[in-house]
Symmetry: C2
Subunit: 186 residues, 2 copies
């Protein structure tokens, strides 16, 4: 069992993912960049001329309960699958109202009423997903959500993000920028 | 409603709290220092000759439910009360086994079986408390717990930490260092 994985996402002139499009869903946008590079948080200084730099760190589950965790574990694929040449990076910030809610109310909105966990489950293993937490790092976003999928699942991915944005939970999102990515040829 | 408060704790030759004693409860110790200084994370570089530097950031509640939150809000005092001249800083790291548990199992251990939330409630408003999260920052500890109380409540504080260390939850603590502090005269 490893500890948190910390990543620096750098939008600039180099990287392992080409930024195909960037759409501001709500709130302030981020500067445009042609490429996205991922660096380990400890070993690399971000390039000075970067258009943007985001940081995030994986962590323990905040809402997932035991039966959900077992269901997820059965179908969760790894990242970096050869066929998953498309990706998405969606940094999100939720409102202060959300963060002031107690744990049981956030769980009720996210899991019971918005079906966030079971919705994601429906799209596994096609859509690989990793959640980076950023709020505690003092970042402008609370999360950087990361997705990888094969071109044949691009339509399903649009279904997934559309379904999530239609939920009660998403009413607490006050900033969201949606980057669609294409993995650079190795 | 404000966002997270980020703090750098510096053990060294200056600070607003005198370190009266430091006891390693479990795991690796920290270097000795006579004084503890608290800095905002954004505005001050830690002194170069510090014995130790710890970082933490406040955040939303992870386990507290609505009824508990209302009960806590009624009796929670502010920090920096004039009469609260004693303090404690207790950095803690929990095991990987803890962090791999799903949310409902951690809640059951912490709240139902270890009574962590109601235990703390019993000592309010005498013992003021603030929790700084550090795990996502890549720090050697998961939390820095902070307490402030008047000398007349010193015995009650010992009761509180003793009770918490006797719980099932505390069996997941793999590193803990206990600093007792005296506020410097203003």
């Amino acid at each position: 069992v490893a500890g948190p994985i910390s990543v620096i996402f750098v939008g600039g002139n180099a990287g392992s993912w080409r930024i195909e499009c960037c759409r501001t869903i709500v709130g302030e946008s981020l500067p445009a960049a042609p490429w996205l590079a991922l660096h380990g948080a400890r070993d690399v200084a971000p390039e000075e001329d970067a258009a943007f730099v985001l940081r995030g760190s994986t962590g323990h589950v905040r809402y997932v309960e035991n039966t959900e965790k077992l269901a997820l574990a059965k179908v969760t694929p790894p990242l970096s699958r050869a066929e998953a040449t498309l990706g998405a990076m969606i940094p999100i910030r939720k409102s202060d109202v959300w963060w002031e809610l107690p744990q049981d109310e956030r769980r009720a909105i996210l899991a019971q009423r918005s079906k966030h966990i079971t919705l994601g489950l429906d799209y596994l293993p096609a859509i690989a997903r990793r959640l980076y937490h950023a709020r505690e790092l003092g970042e402008p976003f609370d999360f950087v959500t990361w997705f990888e999928y094969a071109p044949e699942h691009a339509t399903r991915f649009e279904d997934l993000v559309g379904a999530l944005r239609a939920t009660e939970e998403w009413q607490y999102v006050e900033r969201e920028v949606d980057f669609r990515l294409v993995r650079a040829a190795p």
